[in-house]
Symmetry: C2
Subunit: 382 residues, 2 copies
């Protein structure tokens, strides 16, 4: 298929699976590896669109379930789509809505056909199927859409996981067929590779999905309680069986070390609520580990959150001031730390990209890990 979402490979790292490239959309071309801020309810919490652009965000993620439940995808459609609704002219990625239907809603019934549940706000009975998920995402007019998949726990046994993988493949195909009927020309649909920690099932899932020719491939079912080593192992054998000419997206991962280790294993795109979620408690990601700004030791600390950061927050505000904002429950505190954390991860991805281009990714990783305070063993053993 000639999808409007394309991937251009720029350089493969000589010693790892890492790659520098670009993702091409009808709303511009953006460099990868990339971290996507999460705008759950059509807003990246506390950030304006101007903030997101100034910190270097490319694509942002919006949750389909939330838009569907409130204000309703029909309202968004009437507004002219999500881009118009939230005034964001760069690309938007929407998830399938399945994760929230599983985790937030009161689940009623779960069959081959789809998922019946009561929504978490009104209690209204709703029905989510692969077709409904795609139709809603079509109405939202996101640039990158996700297929509805089955979320099986990482440690499920082979039989259980095999059933989940096979249903995920059938649902992916149903979603693709729906998109061919109701999709918009700027939209690309991704399939989601599942299979937990079972290598043969990850391979089966990837084979099924690549045979259907999606615009890109997501790696799902990770960052759900498995160890980092287990996650890294899955990535190491999964990305090599995905097509080189399509983008690869690791869902829900947002720590600095996991981002770097994911890139090293061939991932292009990441998303996570982590940077904005911990910011709301006053925790900043810095080059020297996390800073918990509420700690009394920052009361008279007039240095920036992160001495090595050149973001607006770090150029303009001190730890003492930001601590005072948090002590007083002032919104600006959340905003300043959210901005910094999102800048930290988007900037990290730009540094990682440069390291790939400069052929020194592993050296960059080791230096970063040691400074950040990950243990030496982790830093040196890749």
């Amino acid at each position: 298929m000639d999808w409007p979402i394309k991937y251009r490979l720029e350089k493969k790292d000589s010693r790892t699976l890492a790659r520098a490239g670009e993702i091409v959309t009808t709303r511009g071309t953006y460099q990868t590896p990339m971290f996507m801020p999460v705008g759950t309810q059509a807003t990246v919490k506390s950030m304006s669109n101007g903030d997101l652009k100034s910190l270097g965000a490319g694509i942002i993620l919006v949750n389909t379930y939330h838009m569907w439940v409130r204000p309703g995808e029909n309202v968004v459609k009437k507004a002219g789509g999500l881009h118009q609704f939230m005034n964001w002219d760069q690309p938007i990625l929407t998830d399938s809505g399945g994760f929230q239907a599983f985790s937030l809603a009161d689940l009623r019934n779960f069959t081959e056909e789809g998922i019946k549940f009561k929504n978490h706000l009104s209690g209204d009975e709703m029905f989510m199927s692969p077709e409904v998920s795609i139709k809603v995402q079509n109405d939202l007019d996101s640039d990158i859409m996700m297929s509805l998949d089955i979320l099986e726990p990482f440690y499920s046994d082979h039989d259980q996981m095999k059933k989940a993988v096979e249903r995920t493949s059938r649902w992916a195909e149903r979603g693709l067929n729906q998109h061919l009927k109701t999709g918009l020309p700027d939209q690309g649909l991704f399939g989601i590779v599942q299979g937990g920690g079972h290598r043969d099932l990850r391979e089966q899932s990837a084979r099924d999905l690549t045979s259907m020719d999606f615009a890109g491939y997501s790696i799902g079912g990770l960052s759900v309680g498995e160890t980092k080593d287990e996650m890294n192992e899955v990535l190491s054998y999964t990305t090599p069986i995905l097509p080189e000419n399509k983008p690869r997206y690791l869902m829900g991962v947002g720590t600095a070390d996991s981002l770097i280790d994911g890139v090293i294993r061939g991932v292009d795109i990441f998303d996570c609520v982590l940077p904005t979620r911990i910011a709301r408690n006053g925790t900043a990601m810095t080059h020297h580990g996390r800073v918990v700004i509420k700690n009394a030791k920052y009361h008279e600390d007039f240095s920036p959150l992160d001495l090595e950061c050149d973001c607006d927050t770090c150029r303009n505000y001190s730890r003492a001031y930001i601590r005072s904002l948090f002590s007083n429950h002032e919104i600006l505190g959340i905003r300043l730390v959210s901005y910094h954390n999102l800048y930290f991860l988007t900037h990290l991805m730009r540094q990682v990209r440069q390291a790939i281009l400069d052929d020194n990714l592993l050296e960059f990783r080791q230096e970063f890990f040691e400074k950040y305070g990950f243990n030496k063993k982790n830093a040196k053993n890749f």
Copy 2:
């Protein structure tokens, strides 16, 4: 005295007491009439300094009591003063701290010497006197400082009010003497005219204070429960007895109609928490009256908050989107409406200034009042 805060009269209105001018500070010259956003705890709630500049704020107000109690004026002093602490390079006006000592704290003792109270956070015993108020404001290094005054209820009888006015004058003199010892060269001190609704006492207060030669004069004890007519009457006889070459500041007033009617009675500067406070509940000030964005009727309303406004919020976001932000308790909603409301009042002051220069202030007032929905009687009778 040769204060670093000066007032330059540009034009007096031919039919009212209104005047267009400039307030000169060591941190720039700003046009009056002016509305000052309130940054209670060294932050105008939900706004960044960049936002404040882009919406046209000149001077902002910070509350001395809050800085004194947390983080402590010593921390602010160590940071290099309030400007450094909060990274605001335009002028800052601080109040005396008396209002919060009266209203927030557990008041213990109130004498000629000063006010003993327990602070509202730690319960620590604290002592506020005219000298302490000035010393704290000196440490904060605000550009415009207020004398500690006595807050007597508007309807207090003549005897009671006379005592309050006379003590306010003595306290003003003590504060001025303190400033001569510990003040900084960029700081100007204002006296506060009290007297409630007693004309002779307002005159006595103004006479006492002008004999001491302050950098400017505040009008206090208004917007505390009296009617708008009563407030306007007090202004009408108070501003004419204040020196023409000094700025006049009406404390704590922030509705559009009161701002216009205050200017018409010779006021140059206003402040109020109203625009940001009502924004946090989703109430927008618009040219056609208030918009309560949580109302269901805005669910699919894709027009801006205020059709006649060209602020960032109104140029970029719809009522439906902002309503969705408030429905979801998203911080960005508060931020967008706060920005609009502050823009609305600062822009209104620019329009009023232009109307003075164009000699059509009363016509502007009538048109504004009628559109805003104030009753016709109010609109036509000045």
